[in-house]
């Protein structure tokens, strides 16, 4: 799609949603404080699409992208001697080492920036869902209003890139049937922005197509006939006393939905259409399939996509015991598909305008819960001063003092290492710390959104970054 058609498509969508926007005005609903892209001082976007690859549950930096002194497992080994449980490996960038098990990513690090100094708040007691809420909305819960997910902000401020593809797509997280589901729902939301900007939730990538095609068992022909008859009925206007305003606004949304469900672009959601060789390269796990879906949707014109390894308490990156073994498995799940996603985007000429961020709610440590001096309760389930069995070997505590983030594309520097953590415990970020607020500001800036964009909600300003104070980390841009 060329620039011109993009703009036209956007305009169409805006036309369609304007009644909803009008309605929002009516009710004391949020009003935009600053429509950035109309202001001359808005930053020029360096990315059109943002993909967040979420390492849910707390990915241990020393066991992934920030190798430290490595001690292999042996009985009798003192726990305090262990910082990394994996040896380091070389990468394509001379001065950057990462850990064993990430060989594919090691080969593409020259396309992106590795931040080793991402820091999170100490919330006193480590609860994944609270930290994830903070990371995804920029605000620490609880808040007096429901804070929007950053994807919802992008949907609100930028709209969809292609009107046939929902602006905010959320891949891999089930919101029912998993622990802490209510807490998860609390930030997988557009909050006060309203459901128009909420996530299009696709927990199972291989079933994504179900969400954009006619209901199960309904042929496209029947689906089309149903809508045609429906439209006729509505147009006959019997027994209809409703205000045109309400009716038109409702029909506009129905037409939008119908168009999405019958658009050619929806084939992007169908993983079975991917050539087998390519599909296999991604098919390490549900997360791997999610990366493939993200690539297809990016090609089709998505605005913001999150793909998660999925947060389920005590599963995947949430290693409270048996951490080394679990981390090795997780790396198998994520290494190949992440690398492939970057390569595919590059090969299709999309990487330059697609910002890919790989992040987690915090890091992990063998010994320290929270940060030194924190009052957080130790949550390791395999406490041991001396290693006696394999399940004790791993980073089982939640560490908020320094974690790693990877960024690719979308104007971000290539082959860059940014920030540093201490070589010895506590492995705090000791150079160029990047807070969630500033990291978000960087992401928003790449997307052409000022970090102090905000809305007036309940008469109070609410900004895309905490208090509108986020500062983009300029050095991260290439």
């Amino acid at each position: 799609m060329n620039i011109q058609t993009k703009i036209e498509a956007r305009r169409d969508f805006l036309k369609m949603t304007s009644a909803a926007a009008l309605a929002a005005l009516a009710t004391g609903a949020p009003r935009l404080i600053r429509a950035d892209d109309t202001k001359p001082d808005a930053p020029a976007a360096t990315a059109d699409t943002c993909i967040l690859l979420w390492m849910a549950g707390g990915m241990a930096a020393p066991d992934t992208f920030d190798p430290k002194r490595y001690e292999p497992f042996e009985k009798g080994l003192a726990a305090e001697k262990i910082i990394s449980t994996f040896p380091e490996i070389d990468t394509v960038v001379d001065n950057i080492k990462i850990t064993q098990g990430l060989e594919q990513i090691a080969r593409i690090l020259d396309r992106g920036t590795l931040i080793r100094s991402h820091v999170q708040a100490d919330l006193g007691n480590i609860l994944h869902s609270r930290h994830q809420y903070h990371w995804h909305t920029g605000y620490v819960p609880p808040q007096t209003v429901a804070a929007p997910h950053i994807g919802a902000w992008m949907a609100k401020l930028l709209g969809p890139r292609n009107p046939a593809i929902p602006a905010f797509i959320d891949i891999g997280q089930r919101l029912e049937g998993v622990g802490e589901k209510e807490e998860l729902k609390a930030f997988h939301t557009a909050g006060f922005l309203g459901s128009e900007f909420g996530p299009f939730v696709l927990p199972y990538p291989d079933q994504a197509i179900e969400s954009v095609r006619p209901p199960k068992g309904m042929t496209p022909k029947r689906f089309e006939a149903r809508f045609r008859m429906y439209r006729e009925l509505v147009n006959q206007q019997h027994g209809d006393d409703a205000s045109d305003y309400q009716k038109e606004s409702m029909m506009r949304s129905m037409e939008n939905a119908y168009r999405l469900l019958s658009s050619p672009e929806r084939t992007a959601f169908d993983l079975t259409l991917e050539p087998k060789a390519s599909y296999d390269r991604y098919n390490t796990s549900r997360f791997g399939q999610g990366c493939l879906l993200a690539r297809r949707l990016t090609e089709a014109g998505a605005r913001f996509i999150e793909v998660t390894t999925e947060y389920v308490p005590f599963v995947s990156w949430d290693t409270h015991e048996n951490g080394h073994t679990t981390a090795a498995q997780m790396k198998k799940d994520v290494d190949q598909p992440i690398a492939q996603l970057i390569l595919d985007l590059e090969q299709r000429g999309l990487l330059d305008r697609t910002l890919v961020v790989i992040a987690s709610e915090f890091s992990r440590d063998m010994m320290i819960e929270g940060v030194p001096g924190s009052t957080a309760r130790d949550q390791s389930r395999a406490k041991a001063d001396i290693m006696a069995e394999m399940k004790q070997y791993g980073l089982h505590r939640h560490f908020t003092g320094g974690s790693s983030v990877l960024m690719f594309g979308g104007g971000i520097g290539k082959g860059v290492l940014y920030g540093k953590t201490a070589a010895e415990r506590p492995c705090l970020a000791i150079e160029k710390p990047v807070t969630i607020t500033d990291l978000h500001a960087t992401i928003f800036r790449a997307m052409g959104i000022r970090p102090d964009s905000g809305l007036d909600v309940e008469k109070r300003p609410f900004y895309v970054t905490q208090d509108g104070k986020g500062k983009p980390v300029g050095e991260l841009f290439g």
Partner: protein, 821 residues
């Protein structure tokens, strides 16, 4: 720093008010690691505004401009020539605030500005005097006395002498609003039932209402609807759950950091508890209503403005008074007059421990003292115990002098019934109502009649205004968000809430779940029809090993929707239904509930209980049973408990089938045992609970409001109840439309519904046209027009249920269906 930190808020201020940037700065300040390289900058709202407010504005704003200096806006300050942009050293303003000359220095009285404040002023001037142009000191534009004002009703100007109409007709005349048009019967019925009970009218109701020629039928309908206590409670519990942050699952419930008030709330709604008492029980609670003021205890560190006492402060302010205390929980509010002390004053009332005031999450060293927001109503004695303080607060809140209290609730009810508050938004009660007389009339009427919520709903619903056609929502089209430029023209067309829509779909499809999640109703209120019986009054000394057969015969015309029997016996029983063994019990303290519907048949049915006494010597024996039947097409439950209508016999025939067919056997009436309820006291609550469960599991009346929110309801706007929510989304979004177009949840219900309609069609031998007509009447309270039939008929497809499913979908998606007109 650029102007970018400011935003064009246009607000009406009370007295001296300015807007805020970075209100959340302080709220979340603690999460900023200290190593953040902050570029030196001025935050107008936090750094400058408070000084201007407290030290300068008195003499330089609001009509007082000493030394010809106006600080009302940035432009006026610049015009004064007292500042040179970018150069504080050359600015007279800076000179004056730093001067040591008593004749020169500003402010002239009180302490000098601190060095830090002076530095902020310097930086402010140096950064070009950042101050959003839209922000000006303004005069208070509206205030109303706290006490209620008696309203003299204007003369009657139309054929309606209803007090609401008299006020509105007068308003219409003054504002040149064209008169209201009458609403058709079916739309009125539909509107009233959806608004008051949240349900669609049944076909019978629609027909009877249309046929009824009583000129007072609309008023009578409102009374009749409001008398349906259970339906009323099931509908309004959603409104209150939103307001009181009550839910059935969610953050805090599992680990005890939060408590439900569901049972208390539902009962309070069923009994239409007077609102003053209702609120007193929330503020000064019993264990069953404590959940509201208890709030949500978040695990881990939370911002000082979110600890439970501050939640209490914010929630009671917002919910009962329409006051936004969220800003003032952190610092003196920039958007209204509320101060940090006000927020903490309320919080201190409920705090278990002395509560240290935090400004922007930083401790101030001061301890909060209990304080009510309206001192003229009265004060809280901080030396009292917490329980007593809460009692005092409850009394002050509901005092007759506190007019804000009734105004806030009648305004919420008006909003619900008409789509827009008299005062709008409904949580900013300081705003002027579009009709102050109407607001006060409703509030006075409410108070004078015992804080009766239903009375106010009735007052609104019986007015001709409510009985008229809805209007183009002029307020919405103009996008006006304040009260002052809004003209009321009639009831808005409104969208169904998630619960209303889901209930309506369940009604059309029979897809309601079998169980509800809300724990409602108290088992003690269940009156049992059964009594403890035995063969004779000597049951207290029944011989060991005595075995008695009890029998109950009943006839049914059609199979019930559900049927159970709850049975218990001292010592042991075997239960047979129509000759089939169904259950056995061996402990009288553990009643057994048996689903017996599969065994029932049309015509005569027989329950047989073989009851036996155990032990070595004579000892008490008794049987208790409660038979429950839910008939086919109504929600009523019929119950037949053990009493003298049951028979007994003793027989050596042990095979139940044989026993029942044995013509020689004599049956005698069972004997009710007085006093047995006390003997078997501990079993009774269990029986009551079982009966209640049966009642609640009613698939006809299971309401969306009483089950956990599924993803569809959530999508349609049922909120996560961690925050107080007072309004629901007014328009359908595209994502919602997607969920409705191909989402599994709705599709599943429609499939269920299609199959039911198909069997009904086959059973009743309906033509396609008859089926469509029946469905339209149920869904829309009207029959289909001929061109609609032309579109829809014939219903054909490969699978016979398919076209009906599509028909259901089309009807449910009609704006006419989803909107309350």
């Amino acid at each position: 720093m650029t102007k970018s930190n400011l935003h064009p808020l246009k607000l009406h201020w009370a007295t001296i008010v300015l807007t805020a940037t970075g209100l959340f700065t302080c709220q979340t300040a603690f999460i900023q690691p200290s190593w953040g390289q902050e570029q030196k900058q001025v935050d107008f709202a936090h750094d400058i505004l408070p000084i201007l407010q407290s030290r300068c504005a008195k003499c330089h704003s609001n009509g007082v401009f000493k030394g010809d200096l106006s600080l009302e806006s940035r432009d006026k300050l610049i015009d004064s020539g007292t500042v040179e942009l970018g150069a504080h050293a050359n600015s007279q303003l800076f000179e004056r605030i730093t001067s040591s000359d008593p004749d020169e220095q500003m402010p002239p009285e009180g302490d000098r500005l601190t060095a830090a404040q002076v530095e902020k002023f310097a930086a402010w001037i140096d950064t070009d005097l950042v101050w959003p142009a839209e922000i000006e000191f303004k005069r208070r534009i509206f205030s109303r006395p706290l006490g209620l004002r008696a309203v003299a009703l204007p003369d009657q100007r139309s054929d309606s002498d209803h007090p609401v109409d008299r006020i509105i007709d007068n308003y219409f005349r003054r504002n040149s609003v064209k008169p209201l048009e009458p609403l058709s019967d079916h739309l009125f019925l539909r509107r009233a039932k959806l608004d008051l009970l949240g349900q669609l009218p049944t076909i019978d109701e629609t027909r009877q209402f249309a046929d009824n020629e009583d000129p007072g039928k609309q008023e009578k309908l409102i009374d009749e609807l409001l008398s349906r206590d259970r339906d009323y409670a099931d509908h309004w519990i959603s409104f209150w759950n939103d307001l009181l942050r009550n839910d059935y699952v969610g953050t805090g419930y599992i680990d005890g950091g939060r408590e439900q008030i569901t049972e208390w709330l539902h009962r309070s709604l069923i009994t239409n508890k007077p609102y003053d008492r209702f609120v007193r029980e929330l503020i000064s609670p019993s264990p069953e209503s404590v959940g509201f003021i208890k709030g949500i205890k978040w695990r881990g560190r939370v911002n000082a403005s979110q600890v439970e006492p501050l939640q209490f402060s914010q929630n009671i302010s917002q919910v009962f008074l329409g006051i936004n205390m969220k800003c003032a929980s952190c610092h003196d509010s920039f958007i209204d007059d509320w101060k940090l002390n006000d927020a903490y004053g309320l919080a201190a009332i409920t705090a278990e421990q002395p509560l240290e005031i935090h400004r922007c999450d930083v401790p101030t060293g001061e301890t909060a003292t209990s304080k009510f927001v309206f001192p003229s109503v009265g004060q809280i004695d901080g030396s009292l115990s917490r329980t007593q303080r809460l009692e005092q607060l409850a009394a002050l809140m509901t005092s007759r002098q506190n007019g804000r209290f009734p105004r806030t609730i009648v305004n919420r009810l008006w909003h619900r019934m008409t789509g827009r508050g008299l005062v709008h938004p409904v949580d900013v009660m300081a705003n002027e109502a579009w009709s102050e007389p109407l607001l006060d009339f409703l509030a006075v009427d409410f108070v004078d009649h015992g804080y009766d919520l239903k009375r106010t709903l009735r007052m609104i619903a019986t007015s001709r205004m409510y009985r008229s056609r809805s209007v183009q929502a002029s307020g919405q089209l103009l996008g006006s968000s304040t009260s002052s430029d809004f003209i009321f023209r009639g009831v808005d067309t409104r969208r169904m809430t998630a619960e209303q829509l889901v209930d309506a779909v369940w009604t059309l499809t029979g897809a309601a779940p079998r169980n509800i999640d809300a724990k409602i109703g108290s088992p003690e209120d269940v009156e049992l029809t059964g009594k403890w019986v035995w063969k004779d009054a000597g049951a207290g000394q029944s011989p060991a090993g005595e075995t008695v057969f009890f029998r109950y015969e009943f006839e049914i015309d059609s199979l019930p929707l559900a049927s159970s029997i709850v049975t218990t016996c001292d010592n042991q029983f075997e239960l047979f239904v129509n000759g089939k063994h169904v259950a056995k019990g061996t402990d009288w303290a553990a009643p057994i509930t048996s689903d017996i519907r599969p065994e029932l048949k049309v015509g005569k049915n027989v329950i047989l209980v073989q009851a036996s006494n155990q032990g070595d010597s004579p000892n008490p024996a008794a049987l208790f049973a409660e038979l429950l039947l839910r008939s086919d097409n109504k929600s009523d439950i019929e119950r037949f408990g053990t009493d003298q209508n049951w028979d007994w016999t003793e027989s050596s025939v042990n095979d139940p089938a044989e026993l029942l067919n044995h013509e020689q056997i004599h049956w005698y009436p069972a004997v009710v045992l007085p006093g047995a309820n006390e003997t078997y006291e501990s079993a009774m609550p269990l029986v009551q609970r079982a009966v209640q469960q049966f009642d609640l599991a009613d698939p006809i009346t299971a309401r969306a409001s009483l089950v956990q929110a599924d993803l569809l309801m959530r999508s349609l706007g049922r909120p996560n109840r961690e925050q107080v929510v007072t309004t629901r989304p007014e328009t359908l979004s595209t994502l919602q439309a997607l969920d409705l177009s191909n989402g599994e949840i709705l599709a599943g219900w429609l499939q269920t519904g299609a199959n039911q309609w198909l069997s009904a069609q086959r059973e009743s031998k309906w033509s396609d046209q008859e089926l469509v007509t029946e469905l339209f009447e149920q869904a829309l309270s009207r029959g289909p027009a001929s061109d609609e039939l032309k579109v829809l008929i014939p219903l054909h497809g490969e699978d016979p249920a398919g076209p009906i499913e599509d028909l259901l979908w089309m009807v449910v998606m009609l704006p006419e269906f989803q909107l309350i007109q």
